[in-house]
Symmetry: D2
Subunit: 273 residues, 4 copies
């Protein structure tokens, strides 16, 4: 009997919540940049009865991402690929944001697009920040969507000096994630697999709390108060959407993004002249 | 014991499929413009054991929409509101498209936004056609989002003469649906309810078949062949997404759109220079 | 790309409803004893965009069941096997009930237990009638559970003359279905697949209506009135439970039965001295 | 806007996993006998963004259970009631098992049966141990099902001296839980609410690990190896089944038990002469 594999990249709050959803029927391959976070998540998930293989990964470099994909394929049919790894603008400078949040997603889409099983599905955790990005001319969108990952950071529009601050780079990267997922849908489809993204709003994770505690905290709280849900999201909200998008009921959904933000983007858009 | 109410406007292929999903625990209020379609759907759903109240409605006029909302509220707490009524560009001229597909959605959002129960949810069936719309300047987007329904068709951008053909008006209306849903999210949230849209791709309904049989059929088939799923969608695909968005697992999703198109928009976008 | 196969045996009300749930991501292999029912269901499902292969089957004989399993395996990995075929006591005499409702299930479990894919799942539609059966001594339970299908009807306890009427034989067969599913769980597990049953209550299908129109109708209505749900079930109620049991969220559920009867058995049991 | 309430009694591994599923759209009322367990679970769930009210409860006495139900009703419409509190036979002597696992469930069913909201649902976590119980004569079943909670432990069959050891009392209590849930279905139905139980197999919780480490551990491991799933369950497996049974898709399921044991009972039954 061959057990299928579910890969969860990024073992923080959302990664663990999603791992619990896809874990019971799978061999979990959990990856993170931080050995400490990885060890803690692996211990917790193993303790809860999941079958877990752990592997460190730096998503901003092709070699470790390719090694992770190879490891996944060696464990069995790769049914689910969930990419939650990301740096927050309150945690990192512009170049790191671009390396992890922009290039990292591109590398994962490329490498796992070559090992995902027929009937499998991938999911990238983007951010509502990408929905606040004003958009780009079509030609630049195409560059972000289609430039091979290895050349992505060499694009003029991806030059670190082009960004005023980490927040701007973050919104750009998360906007680009959606373009990248959209473009990857065709290649993943050729293998009989799907790929989508979720754009979370403010979620109660350590990263979310760091953002609420930053200089942007007051603005974020105003946005939450004005929103439909009037609350922060929980990892469980994201995990529920992830389970739906990765599961058989979503077999006609690919190449798109689902905004799970409690209506925050809607509220801000409605209030913006 | 008070049974909750699920309203399904538009009793065609998708409407029936969604009614079956939300029906078992609810009192179904099913509405359609066509008495014949309404009678057939009511007979079928009743035959399958659902509790159904039927009411004719012309969604392009406030009075019948308000009467439908009043009827819904009189039957019990209005838990679900599903708006599937729409005209296809192969069925109708520009003014009818604007009246039903643009104004109709606006009226339903306004009237049902005043009767939906706390914890309830609404869903508008838009179309992937709206995702092919090139977008509008922010000021015009705001007009489409926020102009009271009764004045909507008086906006210069909504003038029938501004549209080359029904297809153009249809894409415009479906694009506007998303703006309208986004803007309605705040008002619905004030009642503790959510509102979202689904943008279906080519679905195997009578309307979908009519489109495949039209002059646009060859283009649609090419798009399907290039897409991730390489198939037309089924009413069940849309119903599954509807069930998710209307249900408790989606409580942090509001004011947004979910594209359920088999990756067709992604494929076309990737192929477009 | 290999598409997985979902087999639906019995193309009546419940079979169609379940086919719609498992159909979108699968190649549907639909089977029925009646060419007329099969043609109608195939036409309807194809019309709704599902990919359907139809095959006639007499589930009371090994050869056609084996041929159906072979056909399934030839179409792709057999992910789902749903057995809804059955005769109602108001439709058939004792020998036919035993042949279809008892032997038929045993044959399907044996033949499809040899072709189901790893990660796949099977589902047998039994009946709440089996829950009203008083039970049997352990030795007879073991006979019903473990006797090879080909010898099943030769057991003394399965002799047609042992049953007062079709209703008694029906309850016996449906009780035996659960024992059979329970016993099959180990063999299916050896292939990495699961197998369960659902015991529906009174469902609004043609068969359910026939029963409500029979001499047992008054008793059934009293039972419904006394039950938790105070309504007949819909095919959608059964389809929702089927989707859950066949899906990844139920990966730790096997060899058991789920009663989906609106609390009718509970009500009758509570009222019985 | 009135937010609905989800009550989770027992804040251990399963309680927390279920709380995460029902929590996002609800006000969680979490209760436990241990202040330490309660504090830890409350901190964790609050940290994940859930709205939590905590209350200590001793489920073996009416007063605190009634106080908990009153608190629930004061917070809003009581949509979900999940009873996971229980003592394991490796943790407690016979009288404690009977007080918590037998009487506790009876009290919760009575008290919350008077506050659950229309459309709400309850869930009792029983155990596969109840499925290994050989059954009782009908008259004793009726006593266990229908005797008012306050008199339950005074029944001769519930006398502590009647049980050889804690394990026997545990199986008896868990068997009785199902009878009790079945009988409660009518009363809950009169309020428009449902009630069911789940019987988990060996689950990777601290309680499950304690059992695997006990004198019964070897037998349990043999059972797991012989089972369909060949693994211990995870809290997520139970939470997924709980979410299904508590949700709208299960509106026709009441007064019954769902065995979530990886096929362990089926394996043991098949191997038992």
């Amino acid at each position: 009997m061959t057990q299928h594999v579910a890969v969860v990249i990024g073992a923080g709050g959302m990664g663990q919540a999603i791992a619990r959803r896809v874990g019971p029927s799978a061999h979990l391959l959990v990856a993170d940049h931080s050995q400490e976070v990885l060890d803690a998540a692996t211990a917790q998930l193993t303790d809860e009865g999941h079958q877990v293989t752990a592997q460190r990964v730096d998503v901003s470099a092709r070699k470790p991402v390719a090694a992770l994909a190879e490891q996944a394929a060696s464990l069995g049919p790769v049914q689910s690929v969930v990419h939650t790894a990301g740096l927050s603008p309150v945690q990192a400078p512009v170049p790191a944001i671009l390396a992890v949040d922009l290039l990292g997603v591109a590398l994962v889409l490329e490498e796992f697009g070559e090992v995902v099983a027929p009937g499998g599905a991938g999911l990238v955790i983007a951010s509502m920040a990408g929905h606040f990005h004003p958009g780009l001319p079509r030609e630049q969108e195409r560059q972000l969507a289609a430039t091979p990952a290895d050349e992505l950071l060499s694009l003029p529009i991806c030059d670190a000096s082009a960004f005023a601050d980490s927040g701007t780079a973050y919104a750009f990267a998360k906007y680009a994630n959606r373009l990248r997922v959209q473009a990857a849908s065709t290649a993943w489809g050729a293998r009989g697999a799907r790929i989508n993204s979720i754009s979370p709003g403010v979620i109660a994770t350590p990263m979310g709390r760091a953002e609420l505690g930053s200089e942007h905290g007051d603005g974020m709280r105003m946005m939450i108060d004005a929103s439909n849900a009037k609350r922060t999201g929980t990892p469980a909200d994201i995990a529920a959407a992830a389970e739906f998008l990765l599961g058989p009921a979503a077999s006609f959904i690919s190449g798109t993004d689902l905004l799970v933000d409690g209506g925050a983007v809607a509220a801000v858009t409605s209030l913006t002249p």
